[in-house]
Symmetry: C2
Subunit: 338 residues, 2 copies
DNA sequence: CTCTTCCTCCAAAACGTTTCGGATTGCTCT
DNA sequence: AGAGCAATCCGAAACGTTTTGGAGGAAGAG
């Protein structure tokens, strides 16, 4: 493995000069610089980022902390797309990304902060961490710059990216209202998830706008799980047969709801319309295809990485990025939709 | 950020002793060790892996090189599941994983080898790299230990994990034969993909076993793409109306074939049976649900990581891991299958 | 001719670890 | 009493970079 020292020897200059030549400093003669570059190439030199990171005290590496990188989470390709987006930006600006996940069966005793500090990541992106995760607090309180996805915390070193969940939910409900629905139920996620709270807010506001009443008991929590949403939908539909439409806080839950509807011998969308949230791959392959509020998850990852690196380099105006959502009309709400 | 030196000062010992105490060497008194550990904890010490990696000349980090970590590749969740598997094992043995991807729009001029050497990864896993990728050759020829997924190259420093693709294909075709099919077409991937070659071989062997003829022109390449497979299937079905079953080298292509069948006014599986390969998420959500040969992609990633780390630590007997596949019978071949 | 200034270059320190080769102490054997 | 030994500890070098603070010389200004 050739080092800067080898190059220095071969070129007959000091290692200082090699370093400065390779890093584009101006105080080295263009001719010697060229010679050094040639020799470096010829010797197949790669700088040692460990050594560099050690002295510069930064690694040009960011950590992506996700929870639930499991086999199951592949259904909901959220994590994956965010990851792809992060990876994209990070590649563009010549950073690297290291992945930390808490799914180890053998629970690691190390906290996120320790992971970050050991690996000397310059900053971190947190995805899929629950608001009540004890580590969240810890990371946020540490001095490690980080950006959160879908958790609204902001400080000197903390930023976040999210979508406009209130507006997203409104779009969904307005769509249902426009189709003539008056009895709309909602399957939400968790009580304490930020997005759930926001989507519920949007749900209420849209009902209010449309002069429709809001019934507390027409809202159920499905924990973002397909089966649980199915159960809840069955319960709601039997208890309240008036319901003609469901707004679900995730597509996976919407799929569960569609199963429930079919199971009760009713049809989607003729008897009961269903709209989801996320626009996961399955949404456009389900039968009937699922209407949904699309979030650009790739863009969320991309923007998160961009924001983080801007923060690291001290040129981030704001620490918040809010992305748009888009209504996708498909067969689960609009009959014969192509 | 507290260092080993701070601990030494606080404990009134040398940094050598601190290092040896923390790393569990025997030549340090149990009492001083405890004191050092206490102080370290109290000072909230995290070792600097950069410094450690520099002197030890290894980083406890492996690189995962994937190609095509794009928005689109989310459909086929192959990459993601492999990644999850790798991540799982890596977490268990306290390594880290850094992700390298070649999808940067701005093409990086850096090669994989350079990436690996700069980041001082101890080894690498390559996934989704095509056999004709120029970088493949380069990585394999370099002295960086690596394991390939679905590419059979073996050497002192190179290993691979794959599934038994010949047997997998046979299972699929046998299944069709058992259902009474005699005119079976195949939609393969690329000419030059290892798995395609193997699956074609299995296809032929299974036909031979069943005393069925093999027709070269009943095999088409769909490039692992849904649309292309759809086109090819339409062509085959119109040119050769005898065909009653398709074996596809990927689920995504099988979905395309199902679309083709429907488009021609025929039904799956009544008129034409379809079986895929991979068992992607979509397979069990499509209508009809898709029969397929399941590969445990998570396990592939897990085993790849395990193999690599065994190789790194010099305790790998063999450099090859071949995993099992499993036939999943669903509605696209078996009528009214539950 | 001397004083600046600019252009090139360099020696050495620093980053935080690990590890090699001893050094010191106190104890046990002959 | 001296040798031998085990148990503890430590100084210093090494890993491959970047950076600080200058040195040396040539050219231009006065």
């Amino acid at each position: 493995m050739t080092t800067i020292k080898d190059i220095a020897k071969a070129a007959g200059v000091s290692i200082t000069t090699v370093s400065r030549a390779l890093n584009g400093y101006s105080d080295v003669n263009e001719k010697t610089r060229q010679k050094i570059i040639d020799i470096a190439k010829q010797l197949n030199y790669s700088p040692n980022t460990l050594a560099r990171g050690l002295v510069m005290n930064k690694s040009k590496t960011i950590g992506l902390l996700v929870s639930g990188l499991t086999r199951e989470s592949a259904k909901d390709n959220f994590t994956f797309e965010v990851l792809a987006g992060v990876n994209q930006y990070v590649g563009e600006v010549d950073y690297d990304m290291v992945l930390f996940s808490t799914t180890s069966t053998k629970q690691r005793e190390k906290t996120y902060t320790q992971l970050c500090r050991e690996r000397r990541v310059d900053g971190a992106i947190l995805q899929g961490i629950r608001v009540d995760d004890p580590y969240l607090q810890e990371v946020v309180e540490s001095d490690i710059p980080c950006v959160l996805i879908d958790i609204p915390i902001e400080s000197e070193t903390v930023g976040y990216v999210t979508t406009d969940n209130v507006l997203g939910a409104k779009k969904a409900v307005r769509h249902l209202v426009e189709l003539g629905h008056k009895c709309i139920a909602m399957i939400n996620g968790y009580e304490y998830a930020f997005v759930s709270e926001q989507r519920l807010k949007g749900f209420k506001e849209a009902l209010f706008e449309a002069d429709l009443p809001f019934y507390e008991h027409w809202v159920a929590n499905g924990a973002f799980k397909e089966e649980q949403a199915e159960q809840e939908a069955i319960r709601l539909l039997t208890e309240y047969p008036d319901i003609t439409a469901f707004f679900c806080a995730s597509d996976l839950m919407a799929l569960g709801v569609m199963k429930a509807v079919k199971q009760l011998g009713k049809r989607v969308p003729d008897d009961v319309a269903v709209i989801g949230y996320d626009d996961i791959i399955l949404a456009s392959y389900a039968t009937p295809t699922l209407s949904t509020i699309a979030q650009n998850k790739f863009a969320m990852g991309y923007e998160a990485a961009k924001l983080l690196i801007q923060m690291l380099e001290g040129k981030a105006q704001s620490h918040v990025r809010i992305l748009e959502t888009e209504l996708k009309m498909r067969e689960s709400t609009v009959k014969n939709h192509k």
